[in-house]
């Protein structure tokens, strides 16, 4: 069953043009949904197999690595693939109702086609063992998500998409420059092979430059402060289902790329001992967490507020990644998993609000707690998870981060995490207060609860937030194994 991972790329890739030519919205949606379920099932099988037998390697087209493109799934990729596949399988059913209202019927085929292409790209990035192939998948997912964002109803979606295109392309080109320099020094593109050859040439200036280009490029893609400015607009003006999908997966996959490049390709010792990366990343992330959390508090639009909060949450992941100890990495990977769940649930809940009310401005959410109790209580629960209240998924990742900080003797970092969580309380509270503690305006009296087709996906993710706050075997358990693997520690 070694070819399983290739199905994850081939199936959505072939389904994408098919979705464009299928007649009618319902058929297109059905195809996308079935594909997403199949992909999730395969991702689950891959994870089970990787846990049982170790990494899966598949040579694309029969060309053996390191010459051919290798698809390589180890415990870290398997988890990331499961996240992407799982979020896709929850958002795709949601997109049926949500997009039928937000997307022009003539464009719905293109919408599902692009959605599947983004899905393909993200799955491809998470599985490939070839660094140039990683660039290609990065661009497949990015280009299709620029187009998806431009499908938003507001004309500002166009400028948001344009801004994202410019920043994303600069990031990807930086990555490409770095890859080229690595190739010129080692003559290989296979990541495992690169890892074996780089130590011999690690003193060379070219390798140092390549490292800088790749880190800066991936930093742009994962919206590391201060190059995060494309993200808030893109998330705010994209169609609801797209915001939920991209917010929950795209930056997470970029964090994965960062992990893979720093730990597998360059190796932890080069990345953090030879190059002074840790202080840079930690300082940028800490400033970023503080600034973007404060910015989130002042936002007037709930989607925009969540977008700024996303940049802050990415900061926590990068801090964990830069601590470079098993517990720091565990915190980062667990947060990748948990943050996908919470932001997915929050953006989907806002999508349900937009479906009924047509806006996500905080002033328009007033009193909706009474009109849409199920949607808003899901939002509140996922919001608690975002803050990091015990018994929710968010608590688990913050707990690991605090433990990792204390292990280093960095008590100030632990205090910082707790204090910035208080800022998260402030911004989540603004929405909860508007929804539950303000009277419902007279012109909203006829607003009803969101339809079941939207509520079920919202609650699936909300329930997952609670589930993974209690049972951490899948999230933190696997993250810890992956962290040990990345650092070369035998458990």
């Amino acid at each position: 069953m070694d070819q399983l991972p290739s199905y994850l790329i081939v199936i959505p890739l072939l389904a994408a043009p098919l979705a464009v030519i299928l007649p009618g919205r319902v058929l297109q949606w059905l195809l996308a949904t079935v594909v997403s379920f199949v992909v999730l099932a395969i991702a689950g099988m891959i994870l089970a197999q990787v846990i049982e037998t170790g990494a899966i390697s598949y040579a694309m087209g029969g060309w053996q690595p390191p010459w051919g493109i290798e698809i390589r799934v180890d415990i870290l990729n398997a988890l990331i693939v499961l996240i992407v596949a799982g979020i896709g399988a929850v958002v795709m059913p949601f997109a049926g109702r949500s997009a039928s209202q937000e997307i022009d019927p003539q464009r719905s085929g293109l919408f599902y086609g692009l959605f599947l292409l983004t899905y393909t790209g993200l799955l491809g990035i998470s599985m490939t063992g070839d660094i140039f192939n990683m660039f290609v998948f990065l661009e497949i997912s990015s280009l299709s998500s620029y187009a998806l964002i431009a499908l938003g109803r507001d004309r500002r979606a166009l400028t948001a998409s344009y801004q994202y295109l410019i920043m994303g392309t600069i990031g990807a080109t930086f990555f490409l420059i770095g890859v080229g320099m690595l190739y010129s020094m080692t003559g290989t593109l296979n990541m495992a092979d690169l890892a074996a050859r780089l130590p011999d040439v690690s003193h060379a200036r070219t390798v140092h430059t390549a490292f800088a280009f790749i880190v800066a490029g991936v930093g742009l893609k994962l919206a590391l402060f201060p190059v995060h400015l494309w993200l808030p607009n893109a998330y705010t003006y994209a169609p609801s289902a797209v915001s939920a999908f991209i917010a929950a997966t795209a930056t997470k996959v970029a964090v994965y790329v960062m992990l893979r490049v720093l730990y597998t390709v360059f190796g932890a010792e080069f990345s953090f001992a030879t190059m002074p990366l840790a202080p840079i990343l930690i300082a940028l992330s800490l400033i970023g967490i503080l600034v973007t959390s404060m910015t989130a508090v002042t936002q007037q639009d709930a989607k925009r507020l969540l977008a700024y909060s996303s940049v802050a949450q990415i900061g926590y992941m990068v801090v964990g990644l830069a601590i470079a100890t098993p517990s720091g990495l565990t915190a980062a990977i667990t947060h990748v998993f948990n943050h996908a769940l919470m932001k997915g649930a929050l953006f989907l809940a806002l999508g349900a609000v937009a479906y009924r009310v047509g806006s996500t401005r905080i002033s328009e959410i007033e009193g909706l707690g009474r009109a849409m109790p199920w949607t808003m209580s899901a939002f509140a629960l996922a919001g608690l998870s975002l803050i990091g209240v015990p018994l929710t998924a968010g608590f688990i990742s913050k707990w690991y981060l605090v433990v990792a900080a204390l292990e280093q003797g960095w008590w100030w970092l632990a205090v910082f995490v707790l204090l910035t969580s208080l800022i998260a309380v402030m911004y989540v509270w603004r929405i909860i207060e508007a929804a539950w503690f303000r009277p419902l305006p007279a012109h909203r009296e006829d607003v009803r609860e969101a339809p079941l087709a939207l509520l079920v996906p919202v609650w699936v993710l909300t329930a997952a937030n609670i589930w993974f706050g209690v049972d951490t075997r899948l999230s933190a358990g696997i993250a810890a194994t992956a962290a040990d693997m990345l650092l070369g520690v035998t458990p």
Partner: protein, 117 residues
């Protein structure tokens, strides 16, 4: 170090900086895309230069030839050119839509319209 001998890398560096500077400094959305294009093209030239082997023949099997240029970077860059074309097309398509929606392609004028909106 042979400064003039690696002149193609000087061209790469110059184009890279010129392109990136255009993207950052210009307010016209079309000019930004043009800058992005120059920036990407510099990377293409860089890859092609990597493949050059001194005295190497074109990589086509032939009797009596033992030294070939490395064709792999050229193949890689074909892929990157495709990506670049797609990016340019998408970027220009977005500019067309922006022009339809705002009636301008100047960044500052778009900004003013959004503020007053």
């Amino acid at each position: 170090m042979d400064v003039l001998g690696s002149y193609n890398y000087w061209i790469v560096t110059f184009l890279m900086m010129a392109g990136l500077y255009t993207v950052i400094s210009r307010g016209n959305l079309v000019k930004k895309i043009a800058g992005l294009n120059i920036f990407q093209t510099s990377v293409f030239i860089m890859y092609i230069s990597f493949g050059y082997v001194k005295g190497g023949a074109a990589p086509i099997l032939e009797d009596g030839v033992t030294l070939y240029s490395n064709p792999l970077p050229h193949v890689l860059i074909l892929t990157a050119i495709v990506v670049g074309v797609a990016t340019t097309a998408l970027g220009l398509a977005l500019v067309v839509r922006i022009n339809e929606a705002y009636g301008t392609v100047e960044e500052d004028e778009i900004h003013v319209q959004d503020e007053s909106f």
